[in-house]
């Protein structure tokens, strides 16, 4: 069963368009969304959350097609990079506010997260660091029996220790059945740690959406000599990089010859080399 289904989604802006996006996020999985700045990751998430109005297409969340209802929002936990709680409220205030908004708000669970994240309860939000603000919003997202977490660049700007903590929490979240996470990030190493599937968006279009392990197993990063490069069909080169001392190329595994020096690429390398290939 799909937690989120996006069908033929199109959103047009004067200088950018999200074009005919089709995406399925299965229950019990974590989907990582990658792409360069301005690719459309946040636009896609904004459309899913009803923050902007798609020009075409349909979004179905937990079997609820069309506009996001209040009932469906009860089951969503959201962490956005730049949209936050107001500066003048405290974590105690947040608890009171959320208690009246969420039917299944768990105050003790919220305060437990505050303690775990070392968030002061009586200090105004304005005095929190960026990492603390992210943790605060995540504490809210995790304290009302959410079935789906949606995170848009939630780990960017955070130090590695805080990022590692957040990723552990996401893995804990997935220990309960029928949950799903959609997470966009520039930090592909974070997505490699937690994601089951990866979707790559480039200039408003989906380039691929695949199981992470299958994706990484499907490609190889190859070190080539100029002679070897001349003998390869250009169509087999997904992306190419002429370095100072060598030539590196991303190729599908079935095109790799025994004498090639190759290794499994990282997610970041797949994205970088595909991006090079798309630009050529």
């Amino acid at each position: 069963m799909n937690s989120i289904t996006v069908s033929n989604l199109t959103k047009r802006y004067p200088t950018f368009s999200l074009n005919n996006i089709n995406l399925d996020i299965e229950s019990g999985t974590v989907m990582g969304l990658i792409g360069e700045n301005g690719a459309g990751k946040s636009t896609l998430i904004n459309c899913i959350l009803g923050l902007c109005h798609p020009d075409e297409g349909l979004i179905d969340i937990l079997g609820d097609p069309g506009s996001l209802t209040l009932e469906t929002k009860q089951h969503l936990g959201i962490v956005l990079e730049s949209a936050m709680l107001p500066d003048y409220i405290t974590m105690n205030d947040t608890n009171i506010m959320m208690k009246h908004l969420y039917q299944h708000w768990h105050p003790q669970q919220f305060f437990d997260y505050c303690e775990r994240f070392e968030l002061p309860l009586k200090q105004a939000f304005s005095k929190f660091s960026r990492g603390m603000k992210m943790k605060a919003v995540l504490a809210v997202a995790l304290s009302h029996d959410a079935q789906i977490l949606i995170l848009d660049e939630a780990t960017s700007g955070l130090d590695p220790i805080v990022r590692d903590e957040l990723l552990d929490l996401l893995l804990d979240f997935m220990n309960t059945e029928n949950r799903a996470i959609l997470m966009s990030s520039h930090i592909t190493s974070d997505l490699e740690k937690v994601s089951d599937t990866i979707t790559y968006i480039h200039q408003g279009k989906i380039i691929f959406s695949a199981v992470k392990d299958d994706l990484i197993d499907h490609y190889r990063l190859v070190q080539l000599t100029p002679d070897q490069l001349e003998q390869i069909d250009p169509a087999q080169l997904i992306g190419l990089h002429h370095g100072e001392f060598n030539i590196a190329a991303l190729m599908e595994i079935e095109h790799i010859l025994p004498d090639y020096i190759s290794r499994k690429p990282t997610l970041e390398e797949i994205m970088l080399y595909m991006n090079r290939g798309l630009k050529q």
């Binding site: 009803g50 923050l51 109005h53 949209a83 107001p86 003048y88 205030d93």
Partner: protein, 208 residues
Amino acid sequence: MIGLLYKEFLIIRSQSKIYLALLVVYGLLGMYTRNSGFLVAMIAMYSLIINLNIFSYDEKNKWMTYALTLPANRSELVKIKYIFSSILTVFMGILILFVQMFISSSTPFAQQALTILVTVLITLVLYALLYPFIFELGVEMARIMMIIVFVLFMLFFIGTLSSMTLSMDLLQLPDPLILIGAILITLCLYIGSMFLSIHIVSKKDYNA
């Protein structure tokens, strides 16, 4: 909706010391000059400043974007602003009325109450004019409009209305029907403005 309304009230807590201090200063000024016009003007001033501060903070933190991810819809988020503004304005009016009664104990209560009522109604009309601009253009872009409207209000009220109402004899208080009419017109403008703001907000994209 209660949770969202609670959030609006929280800003008063964070800035209450400043407002109380100003209230004391203007109150003393009023006592010294035997003119409570400053105090009455504070109904609009305080109410507007607090509400505009909330809008500013909301914009800075992209609160609308975050709030729309919570179990709240766009029309609720607009209604909360109007409900809070009206509660705050009426509360300020009642507070100032009590202070004014203390300062100008010789002025009949009916006249003082009338002055306060008119000021509350004018303040609500100000909101009715301003809020659709704020929802459409944002606080920064609507600032020019706010300054113009507020200056006009201050000139009108301080220069004209305060002298009229304070010098009115008890026998010349307006017909109750006129008062009721003024209240109804204000309510219609206020509610109409709210629906216009809901329409504006329903069409907008709130990108994270």
